[in-house]
Amino acid sequence: MPSLWIKNARVIDPASRRDAKGDLFARDGLIVPSLSRAERKRARVIDARGLVAAPGLVDIHVHFREPGQTHKETIASGSRCAAAGGFTTVVCMPNTTPPADNAGTIQYILDAIRRDSLVKVLPTGCITIGMKGESLAPLGSLKRAGVVAITDDGDCVQSNELMRRAMEYATMFGLPVMDHCQDRSMTDGAVMNEGVMSIRLGLRGWPNAAEDLIVSRNVILSTYTGAHVHMQHISSALSVDILRQAKARGVRVTAEATPHHIALTDSALSTYDTSLKMNPPLRTEEDRRAIIAGLRDGTLDCISTDHAPHTDYEKDKEFDYAPNGILGLETALPVVLGVLVRENRFKLARVVDLMTRRPASILGLEAGTLAEGAAADICLFDPSESWTYETKAGHSKSGNSPWNGKKLQGRVKTTLVDGRVVFPMAAS
């Protein structure tokens, strides 16, 4: 493999506190401080003038639907979305068919990753068998099979007792517990945020309180057990507040926010567009502002996409009957740049941090940095290029994105994994 020489980039690597114009070098797939003159002559050179060179982005929340729902997405297609979006490490959720609640299914997923993936895909396992919330999955076997965390994402463990035991048991294996925070008893039939918009549209509402209760529950149980609990896709202002207080007390909790929850609100739902239907739902401007504030002060640790593909024919239904979820990987960076950098004056390095070092550190992943010796996983992007996102031109098997046909600013130009270009993809 030739060495790599990325020239004239603005290199941003929050992990090594680097944000300066300069060059990046890699040898044998690893970042090195420089190359010898002879190596430079033979190196693959990428002129990155005008581009930012960041660590490959890290997303700890994606759904690649394999096994069992491969009409929506596969590890192959999902990993292509990741590469196109600048992501080099992604963590996939276990709500597949069958659910990833045993070592055999994890092995199947790992085989598919090895065979088909363009980027580094890491599996999670279920907290409970079949994600039914009734009995613990074999967390020890899952850990040995290679999961990086456990979660019943999409469902939320309703029993406080079971969640407590899951936390205690997972901690023995060093497995973080990720939770989709939703008190189901309060969200029966709910399809959108509960509030003035749900009243106007006559749709069943999902109140913030249903999230706030479980976030509180998890804070309490984490305090009690000492377990690391990661709250997925926080959508409610009060949840941000609860987490802020918990962190001030030193509770081992982390949390993520999605691009859609910082970019959109439920006021966009007046057309009953099912590409705006997800769980947790889009909330109000007050919630959106609170999530941005949480990202600003570190209460929320990272951006995750919750990339959740569903085919056109599954989404093309009455709003009540359409499944929850939207695509995220190919639009995350420009959407986040728009909301956080351009609208809310976050430093670019801060946004890179939220999408690289910080998500990696939540799960203890060796990713998200351009420090010497790290894998040469690199995202080169133009922060100002405008382009129109078309799902048809994208890499997902599905097209459920609210940004389809929308103009975005900020574009990934090249993605490298272990020093190899994975995007743009070679014609096959």
């Binding site: 549209l201 006559g202 009540d320």
Partner: protein, 315 residues
């Protein structure tokens, strides 16, 4: 004033002028319905499909009657025996109906927003006959039409809507129609069924029946759907009736001229005493009769006619 809409999906999107056009057209059709020959040839040769995916008696019969009075052919789509039971999607069902050369579709569906969804798929007019808890525009139009017959202009009039507001499409359509027409709307009922968020639609929210009825010109009762609400929103029908049921004593709080309305079906002895439902203040059956003229107007205008055409024919 010109009618330009092809679909009737919500009252929220209608202008005051459009509401008035429908009312004026309905008034002309009402005159025609009092003649010996009640039929007009306006929609002769046209086929209207009544796609009712949720049970309905009054609305379905009124649409059926309205279409026949306009000389249209009517096809009833029976959800129970149709391919929706075999998993056909709404899109496919509707496209098949269009492929059968239907000229207009009237849809009743449990899912809010489905008429809007259909209107984006189909090239033929879509009339909303009730979508989930969202809207029931022809009901709102016939209710306000009936109120106008009794009260004249609704500007400054006070209408109390009593009962299950949260799950009611009738309430939402009436709120939109009434506020556009300048009436004041007070929503009354248990706090679990009348959440404060409705003030955002321009209505007042009250949980005090006496003060809400005191200066009302109209009290509109809504059916209590206990089977839908389970036992979470209020403890029992008995407690509802004892707190919010309209009985003779409570009706005496109303001004003598106030009228009592109900979109049906009524639960006698629950939200309203039989005596009041059948009493002189009740206009419940007038609502049903007006439902035909209003739906004729909706079909007629969405088929491309102008209000003047029928109004001049009756002058």
């Amino acid at each position: 004033m010109t009618w330009t809409r092809r679909h009737l999906l919500t009252i929220e999107e209608l202008s005051l002028s459009e509401i008035e056009q429908i009312h004026a057209t309905a008034a002309a059709f009402k005159k025609i319905l009092q003649r010996n020959v009640k039929k007009v040839p306006a929609l002769r040769g046209k086929t209207i499909v009544n796609l009712f995916l949720e049970p309905s008696t009054r609305t379905r019969m009124a649409f059926d009657m309205a279409a026949k009075r306009l000389s249209a052919d009517v096809i009833a789509f029976d959800a129970a025996s149709s391919s929706t039971q075999k998993g056909e999607t709404l899109r496919d069902t509707a496209q098949n109906i269009e492929a059968l050369n239907a000229d207009m579709i009237v849809i009743r569906h449990a899912a809010a927003g489905s008429p809007l969804y259909l209107s984006k798929i189909l090239g033929i007019p879509v009339i909303n006959a009730g979508d989930g808890a969202h809207e029931h525009p022809t009901q709102g139009l016939l209710d306000t039409f009936t109120m106008k017959e009794h009260l004249g202009s609704l500007k400054g009039r006070k209408v109390a809507i009593l009962g299950d507001i949260l799950f009611s499409r009738v309430a939402r359509s009436n709120i939109h129609a009434l506020t556009k027409m300048g009436a004041r709307v007070t929503l009354v009922g248990p706090s679990t069924l009348v959440p404060h968020g409705f003030t955002d639609l321009g209505a007042e929210v009250s949980h005090d029946l006496k003060s809400a009825l005191a200066d009302a010109d109209v009290v509109m009762l809504l059916r209590i759907q206990h089977e839908r609400q389970g036992h979470r929103h209020f403890p029992s029908l008995g407690e509802y009736t004892s707190t919010f049921g309209l009985n003779k004593t409570r009706a005496s709080w109303l001004s003598p001229k106030a009228i009592i309305m109900h979109p049906g079906p009524i639960n006698r002895g629950v939200e309203i005493d039989s005596e009041l439902a059948d009493g002189p203040r009740s206009v419940i059956l007038e609502q049903v009769t007006n439902g035909i003229a209003v739906r004729m107007a909706a079909l007629y205008l969405c088929a491309g006619y102008q209000p003047e055409t029928v109004i001049s024919s009756t002058e």
